[in-house]
């Protein structure tokens, strides 16, 4: 399939955001964001609610539209051309805060739906891959259950399997554990840690600083529509420069 490849992009750059602006009506939610993500990098974005961090990743896979600036994913420029949008969405797997599983399908069917209809795999191949993924996230026995019959942690793990089924190059996590009971957070984080250690390129919007410390290469503090500070975890927690970052850290780490 034809797609526009940006001539100047380095193949190691998975995501490039250049001066991205977005407005919701009059509200300026993204204010000139500059961000680069290299292959194999795990980036955690944290920040106060309303800062625009969820909007940023939703803009990258075109669940929201940006009005100004460039976004380039794996060499494909995000434009109004629907073919580019589809190509980009195939490369990004997304996990939502509220899981968004399809309630009328079983866990297995949730995972096999996209590979069958988008990548045109046969049903058998899709099911084989799906069962392997459900095993990888730790719930092979739930394959024939409906989402309504699963706990929150199990549902989120099915959602992760569903995103992985399309064999994406990048995984986005939008506050994946925020809607979970405390005892289920660990099981989901364990899956994400395993993914990160396996070399997956990831952007994770979260407040789970333990996860950030353990596997992230970079932590970005996002506030008022832009990147305030970014640093590797070693320096981020101990030596952050901006006062806003310090304030935010003191608020969440004391909890």
């Amino acid at each position: 399939m034809e797609r526009e490849r940006h001539e100047t992009s380095d193949p190691e750059d998975m995501i490039i955001c250049r001066d991205v602006h977005k407005w919701f009506g009059d509200f300026h939610v993204l204010r000139g964001v500059n961000l680069t993500l290299k292959k194999g990098e795990v980036v955690v974005i944290c920040g106060p609610s309303g800062s625009g961090k969820s909007t940023l990743i939703r803009t990258i896979n075109r669940l929201e539209e940006h009005q100004q600036g460039d976004i380039i994913v794996d060499g494909i420029e995000l434009t109004h051309d629907i073919r580019n949008v589809h190509a980009i969405r195939k490369e990004i797997g997304m996990v939502f805060q509220h899981f968004n599983l399809f309630p009328h399908l079983t866990a297995l069917q949730n995972v096999t739906l996209a590979p069958i209809y988008v990548r045109r795999w046969s049903k058998d191949k899709a099911e084989e891959v799906a069962r392997a993924l459900l095993t990888r996230v730790g719930i092979p026995e739930q394959a024939d259950k409906y989402p309504g019959q699963l706990s929150g942690g199990q549902q989120q793990r099915v959602a992760i399997a569903r995103a992985l089924a399309m064999q994406p190059k990048i995984m986005f996590f939008d506050e994946p554990t925020s809607a979970l009971d405390p005892e289920m957070i660990k099981e989901v984080l364990d899956v994400m840690i395993e993914l990160a250690k396996g070399g997956m390129t990831m952007i994770v919007v979260t407040h789970e600083m333990g996860f950030a410390r353990e596997v992230s290469h970079r932590i970005i503090f996002f506030d008022e529509g832009n990147v305030v500070e970014e640093a590797p975890p070693a320096t981020f927690f101990t030596n952050c420069k901006e006062p806003r970052t310090k304030l935010f850290l003191s608020q969440i780490l004391s909890a």
């Binding site: 896979n61 075109r62 669940l63 629907i82 589809h86 969405r89 195939k90 990004i92 797997g93 997304m94 939502f96 509220h98 968004n100 599983l101 399809f102 309630p103 009328h104 739906l113 996209a114 209809y117 988008v118 989402p147 309504g148 569903r162 995103a163 399309m166």
Partner: protein, 352 residues
């Protein structure tokens, strides 16, 4: 101290029929009063109706005219075709009830295809062709009575469903021309009574067609009913689509499905389930609204009923005739209502 763990039966006045009666009908003093008043009211009314129905009513009018009620002016010699169709329907219904339970997709697909085939076969069988020996032509304009009511109802329902879905999707479309057209269509049709739509279709459809193609009165009525019902189905479908959380659309898009697939695979299956009561209600309404075609000169069940009461020997027997027509309508509508409840239960509506 020993704790009593012996298993006892509940006291007789708390459970079973006596228990139900005590709780629901005689719970408090005003409940008891209401129960007695209702029983008196029901007995008096029912007694009046039953006495009339069993003693003084002249059911001869129904017995003699039963053929006319059922198939109107359909030729006597060809009635075996009606019986054959009825037979096919009964067999298909029995087969469906038995086989549908096993959730084997292949069998279900076969049953669905069989139903469509039977529908087409029935139309061909009842209408016939020119001079073909077994099934000479019985033009649709001759169909009347219950046959016409069913024909109008079935065609109206089956045709307006897909059109309604398309209209609902069109109304939500981002393409301005499509959106404006669908919105205007829905609002205009919903703004006028069915009678005026029927009149319009009677008079105006010939204007749209080339002079060589003359559409039968009955077909024009079918078009009118379909276009009318489609607008209402569209609004029901749109309501259902709005009830689906935005997250479902987003998850579908995020996983790479294009808009058409998101609609067909994810949104519509969930939305249609939720819309069954509203849509079936619309269909039941449509079925009863077929009685309006008497105004454009077609003889459906009620039209025939009216004609029968004008007959020389049965003058003045409106009660019997209309009671009979009412019972027929009730039976069909209740059957639709029952089927809808079964469908809801089977699809697990209300449970997520």
């Amino acid at each position: 101290m020993t704790v009593n763990t012996e298993v006892l039966k509940p006291p007789p006045t708390e459970v079973g029929v006596l228990g139900w009666l005590k709780k629901n009908l005689f719970g408090t003093w005003y409940d008891t009063l209401l129960t007695i008043a209702s029983v008196v009211f029901i007995t008096v009314t029912l007694r009046g109706v039953l006495v009339w129905a069993l003693r003084s009513a002249e059911w001869g009018v129904v017995r003699t005219n039963i053929k006319v009620f059922m198939v109107g002016r359909y030729p006597y010699d060809e009635i075996w075709r009606v019986w054959a169709s009825v037979g096919m329907f009964v067999v298909m219904t029995a087969v469906t009830l038995i086989v549908w339970r096993r959730e084997i997709p292949r069998i279900r697909r076969a049953v669905t295809i069989a139903w469509i085939a039977i529908l087409v076969l029935t139309i061909i069988l009842l209408k016939g062709f020119g001079d073909v020996p077994l099934i000479p032509s019985v033009p649709i304009s001759i169909w009347s009575g219950l046959l016409l009511t069913l024909a109008l109802g079935v065609v109206g329902i089956v045709a307006s469903f897909p059109i309604g879905i398309v209209l609902a999707l069109g109304r939500r479309s981002s393409l301005p021309v499509v959106k404006v057209f669908c919105t205007m269509y829905i609002e205009v049709i919903r703004g006028v009574p069915l009678i005026s739509v029927l009149f319009m279709s009677m008079l105006m459809i010939p204007l749209f067609l080339p002079p060589s193609l003359r559409l039968d009165n009955v077909l024009r009525a079918m078009v009118g009913m379909t276009l009318f019902s489609a607008a209402y189905v569209a609004e029901n479908v749109r309501g259902g689509l709005q009830a689906i959380p935005q997250g479902q659309y987003e998850a579908g898009r995020a996983v790479g499905l294009n808009e058409a697939f998101v609609m067909v695979l994810i949104v519509l299956p969930q939305a249609l389930r939720a819309m069954i009561p509203a849509i079936v209600g619309q269909f039941i309404s449509l079925y009863k609204d077929t009685s309006l075609v008497v105004i454009v000169g077609l003889l459906d069940l009620l039209g025939i009923a009216k004609a029968v009461t004008g007959q020389q020997q049965w003058i003045g027997l409106q009660k019997e005739v209309y009671a009979f027509a009412g019972i027929i309508y009730f039976v069909t509508c209740y059957a639709m209502s029952y089927a809808s409840r079964r469908l809801e239960k089977q699809l697990g509506v209300g449970e997520r």
